[in-house]
Symmetry: D2
Subunit: 473 residues, 4 copies
Amino acid sequence: MKLWGGRFEKQTAKDVEVFSSSLEIDSRMWAQDLKASIAHARMLGRQKIITAAESEKIVSGLLEIGEEMSGELLLGQIIFASESEDLHSEIEIRLFKKIGDPAKKLHTARSRNDQVATDTRMYLLDQISLLNQDLLDLKATLFRQAQNHIETILPGMTHLQHAQPISLAHHLLAYFWMFDRDQERLSESVKRISSLPLGSAALAGTGFPIDRTQVQIELGFAKVSENSLDAVSDRDFVIEFLSHGSLIMTHLSRLSEELILWSTPEFGFIELGDEVTTGSSIMPQKKNPDVAELIRGRVGRVYGALMGSLTMMKGLPLSYNRDMQEDKVHLFSGIETVRPCLQLMTLMLEKCQWNSDRMKESLKKDFSNATDLADDLVEKGLSFREAHEIVGRLVQTCLEMRKGLEDLTLKELRSAHILFNEVSLAKIPHHQVMRARSSQGGTSPEAVMVQLKLAEHNIEKSKKSAGTTLAEN
Amino acid sequence: MKLWGGRFEKQTAKDVEVFSSSLEIDSRMWAQDLKASIAHARMLGRQKIITAAESEKIVSGLLEIGEEMSGELLLGQIIFASESEDLHSEIEIRLFKKIGDPAKKLHTARSRNDQVATDTRMYLLDQISLLNQDLLDLKATLFRQAQNHIETILPGMTHLQHAQPISLAHHLLAYFWMFDRDQERLSESVKRISSLPLGSAALAGTGFPIDRTQVQIELGFAKVSENSLDAVSDRDFVIEFLSHGSLIMTHLSRLSEELILWSTPEFGFIELGDEVTTGSSIMPQKKNPDVAELIRGRVGRVYGALMGSLTMMKGLPLSYNRDMQEDKVHLFSGIETVRPCLQLMTLMLEKCQWNSDRMKESLKKDFSNATDLADDLVEKGLSFREAHEIVGRLVQTCLEMRKGLEDLTLKELRSAHILFNEVSLAKIPHHQVMRARSSQGGTSPEAVMVQLKLAEHNIEKSKKSAGTTLAEN
Amino acid sequence: MKLWGGRFEKQTAKDVEVFSSSLEIDSRMWAQDLKASIAHARMLGRQKIITAAESEKIVSGLLEIGEEMSGELLLGQIIFASESEDLHSEIEIRLFKKIGDPAKKLHTARSRNDQVATDTRMYLLDQISLLNQDLLDLKATLFRQAQNHIETILPGMTHLQHAQPISLAHHLLAYFWMFDRDQERLSESVKRISSLPLGSAALAGTGFPIDRTQVQIELGFAKVSENSLDAVSDRDFVIEFLSHGSLIMTHLSRLSEELILWSTPEFGFIELGDEVTTGSSIMPQKKNPDVAELIRGRVGRVYGALMGSLTMMKGLPLSYNRDMQEDKVHLFSGIETVRPCLQLMTLMLEKCQWNSDRMKESLKKDFSNATDLADDLVEKGLSFREAHEIVGRLVQTCLEMRKGLEDLTLKELRSAHILFNEVSLAKIPHHQVMRARSSQGGTSPEAVMVQLKLAEHNIEKSKKSAGTTLAEN
Amino acid sequence: MKLWGGRFEKQTAKDVEVFSSSLEIDSRMWAQDLKASIAHARMLGRQKIITAAESEKIVSGLLEIGEEMSGELLLGQIIFASESEDLHSEIEIRLFKKIGDPAKKLHTARSRNDQVATDTRMYLLDQISLLNQDLLDLKATLFRQAQNHIETILPGMTHLQHAQPISLAHHLLAYFWMFDRDQERLSESVKRISSLPLGSAALAGTGFPIDRTQVQIELGFAKVSENSLDAVSDRDFVIEFLSHGSLIMTHLSRLSEELILWSTPEFGFIELGDEVTTGSSIMPQKKNPDVAELIRGRVGRVYGALMGSLTMMKGLPLSYNRDMQEDKVHLFSGIETVRPCLQLMTLMLEKCQWNSDRMKESLKKDFSNATDLADDLVEKGLSFREAHEIVGRLVQTCLEMRKGLEDLTLKELRSAHILFNEVSLAKIPHHQVMRARSSQGGTSPEAVMVQLKLAEHNIEKSKKSAGTTLAEN
């Protein structure tokens, strides 16, 4: 009982049906499909394209199907008729069983091309709302941890070498702003996703006197699409989402890398919770940062989905081509990877213990206070280049003596340069070095407190807009 | 004369210098680097970190260097001293030769980490302004061509099979909206690029009493970065640009594919200009759509650059790592691929001739008017499913008779279904089919004219905002 | 009942278990896991690491489990205990239920690291045997079709422009050699996959007096791995397979593109079977080349899996990291995309009808015979450059007269150049042009017949080696 | 003076020439192009397609051009005539200047399609010989370092957690085998690259009585291509090379990651040489592992080139399309990234100092000897599961007491399980743990010595086959 059998003499080969089936993938969108069909049926009735009675029958049939499917899901999964070639034919079959002939009129003035595009956009909008919440949760956790660690000092790294001492709060907030940009990018993409394709029919629009704006408003879309050819063959929003998802994963992979590194006995900056680590079946002592590793490893899924969807679209002529059915494989793989990774990162941060003693310990003799000695000479009139050279040689001497700069006496210091004095000495302690970096966005406790205010404000704003978005869609 | 020799005993190996040199790549950003250094030097003077006299000397020295480099470029290329390890040391060497000791003070309160990040952002902002203009030019060309082809009819395709007749204007406008989304995405990214890292120093901020807001305003950035660690190690903006660039290339590849297809003798819908095609060294008759092919092939460069930059960032701990030097290889490859492709596509469209006769001819006996016969039965009370079945069988019959639907007599029509009548006959001609699709965003001439109005308005708005952006940066 | 609970105080969070579970993925490898465990248990017994009785119990227990799982699969799917965290713990749980304490000894002298690596390699070797057969089937189909179309003439294309007339057999055989290279690459990779990691234990080998060679021989591996650290963390073979799979998909995408193109009414070179095409729910006339489109679209899955697995491995320190669990997601996605695509391509070619009339028709006035006129002048002493110029102008003249070269009279021909004569005229007909290209690997019927011999020989060889491989593994 | 002007009325636009120029890229292949042209000209003479005198003139002209170009290169770069659109027209222009009319005959019976494909294959074969040597050098360096560190003990890691103590030699040899697989893959690809396309002409072969086998033998190719359509449009070998290059880079990125990690003060396992590290312009103490970071970062270039070339080929119909010109951009980017990265890695390893004291130190209290205690219980009759549980709890107790297992008294040990005894105690020391793992491919000194023998044998074999390959090509 194909929806399109008329001009065919032979049956589709069984292998082809299996090969081209989208049922397993598409079934995620059952709720969106029903919602969109209801809006469509109401509009058809209002526009007198079908009768008011037909419209009502269809709507109530669809509502019933929604309840049925909900129920089936609760028990495990939606049960599809064997003859259903996709989600849409399944719904049509059920509707026909319920209300008979009027069911066939639901397909008036639309095609699967605009219908699937509509469903996918609705589904993604819903998922972005949830993802937004995941990002907000992670940001809030980073913020809370940062609040507790303004004065916690650790070596700031460049090239994974000790560079200058920094505040742990400052380090955590670096990630806060990364995830904030992720949120910003997702929100901006919403307006492009929220363009309604329904009413574009197969590719060229329709002759039925439909009213697309009615449907747009009922479904909460921001606008109707401008061009029917574009509407049925545009997959930009899928690729754009996967680009944003790839950046989220990039950020998560960087944080994961640090958690893994900091969990080594060599670093020992952090102890991950038993809840989020696992052991080894062979080595009884092991406590492995599996979750962080899995997050880092799953970056590959999202990069792969991005590359896959770009490849799919390369060189496709207008308008709809069946290749585009693949969009959902990549989109769902992206969504279903990114969201749990965000949630588990939040859990991992909540369950970890920061070893501030080890962090502090690791600063000893690390020369991450060298820049401040050079700056001291600059303030006393040397050029930075000269000061750098002098302190560089002093570091060399210390290395030979197995001393840190903080272990030098004033006399030793002055033998490196005569301008060094008590003031210079006072600048050497690591906490003083951290305190000194008070420029806007710097690591000193005051600067970090300003930054925390910004972050707090940002969270408040995000919370509000998250609320709004959920209401709107 | 390394900027960092102090603690080293042995020279860097020659191979390492070649391997790690960024000169060839970075030199593109000379103008941005000078501009940022001037703003920095002025601020240092105003904040009394260096004296007013020193500040003035530095500024005028940098201005001179700017003129020198401009001059060298006009003659071919900037000439670098052999000891320069990157653009920044080249400028410092020149400055020292000009003004002596004060040159060494330019490096106060900044490092190469925040400096390079600043240069790159400034460079990209400038390029996006230009790219915006390229996109606008292409959109304007599509718009003008569309204006001339509202009534030009051709087969609209799905699955590369004739689906329904459409207007050539409608087809061209589909691309208009794709490139419009590209423009929209780029504009939105501007605010994230326009975040000033300067003042973050190496990673942790600085103790010098700098004023980052002064520099931000002078350089026209939208804000200063919130966190110094993030500021020196954030490459989101590079990846985000390459994502947007990949979508632009995707759109160009689709249009290129169609131009190539339409240039075949089998289609013959278009004749590309001699200016944008080439011949064969062996086959005298050849006229090849090389430009379209090269654009399609160059998609690979931008997808590759995107994947390359994502790979580079995967799993990097905070803050700056030398891996990040690679960002510019990918960024510049992206910019330098996308812009010429846009420009050449515009040229190609300007130089082509549309063969409307061939387009019309190709509609004969193509059954792209079948949907309307089915719709006709629907209006007469049949369900769409039944109507579809009946017309499907009629198509089958026509195929056997080697006739098109437009060749059927009323009698033949009525033998398929008794409800067919004169009204049905009137719906069959292809131009009538096109005319009928008058829903919002559809292909009928009136609907297309509404769409053209939207496009015109959009171009006006783009022009204005392009102007603004150029002024702002 | 974790396999590793000893040093942990708190339970793993439920979310973490879901997040890190590999059960759904790994369960594909149940048969390989059992087979490897049996070989391991036998060796442990023979080496007296466990008693002969224990060894026998384990082996017969595992054989029973194999029958159970086979049976469950026949009824739908293997039923896992809720406490199983992966395939291996499931099997251990079942084994314990069957044979009690000795079950616990199966894990002696191995870890999940070497065990999973072994299973994956065995699974892939099995799949490559099957894939090899898929490739052979496709090659055989191309060969058979080529045999029937040695004299079928069609326009050979460069730049998708008519270049020179070619034999359809020649065109089909081009794909034959592509898929042959694919087969060659896969066979060569076998020896690298066929390196046994079992016995590497967690990472460093084991102190138990195991005999790895016994296991290698029983399992049919080509060698044992040389280094235990490498053995547990090597995923080259996954990436190498996905590289080869990507090339297979590239080739399939090219062939699909041509089938789609040739199915357009404009080309009309081919009619795809009803069995492998589908219609439209809205347009009754449509017959869409869905299978070819889906194959082309699914290229993205395999490119994505390749990129995903490369990303996963980037920058991972030795030895095993949990990131590597992701290898199977990408590997299985690759296998399960490539194999059906090959099978469906074979089906599609078997069910298609070649329209040789349309092919021949399309050569008229296409100037793909121009090179031969130029060659004619070369034989008469002109340089190729001059000849090319003269024929180029002649083509231009014909275009104005709306004639083909084949429509010219001798007089018209001689007005282009005096050296043209009857001999020249005889070279113009398209079938003559095709016949003339008799160089090795060329398109003339004789050359193609030589090529068919090579292909036939190649198939014979492939069949034999396919047989061997199946027996070996 | 285009090679194909005849049928064109208008000039190619200047922008198009710039856009489509391949000169900068292709000029790398000048030597290969000349060599192939010489072989072609000789064959044309021998086959009497041109006269012996013409053939000789062409050959000696080309030889002269070779000397000229060599000379120009020595002085900086080859100087191209402004009218040259690619390398091949440049050579033709020079040849014409030297020998006049016969120059025009060089193009007989070939086209740019088969010519460029031939050049590229020859160039790649040459580069693979060199790359093979680079790999061999790196392997030899790893081997030599391993020879010196058989007894050097360090923590072997899984999940970047201490797992079991291993020999540094064993760790280094893990990389040896990775690079050995890389070499193996490259050698196997040679036979596919070494298939001569020349003689395929534009796409269909030629009517001139050429002898392709003569040319094949003179150029040292392994065979002639079987099918002309395939020969001019096959880019498998480019993609295959980039796949292999991506794996090389993956391996280099893993080793780089470890060198970076081991250079941190927290690990301190290695001290990189001054020659291969750089400092900071702002932080006088810094010594950064730049080379390792750059190698790790450049992985992105090769992954990107692979993705770019796959994208380029997706969905291209037969035969040659201009998109394929892009192959060389990706290929050369791959070659020119991989080779220096291999060379610099070799240099870095040669210039590093291994801190065996720090490695040994880091094993203290790390519990990487826990497995052996568990194994001890297994030997005494417990199941591995039970033993694992007991030792897991013992580790927990030690952690609370801040002791290592090696710090336990026999009494303390026996309180964990009564079966522990003196024998157990003797198994605890880390060097004993390492020594115990004597299974084939394990980390015990004897097993490593066996492995070193294999490696030595492998190097000998590689040296011989490298010699052969160089001679052959």
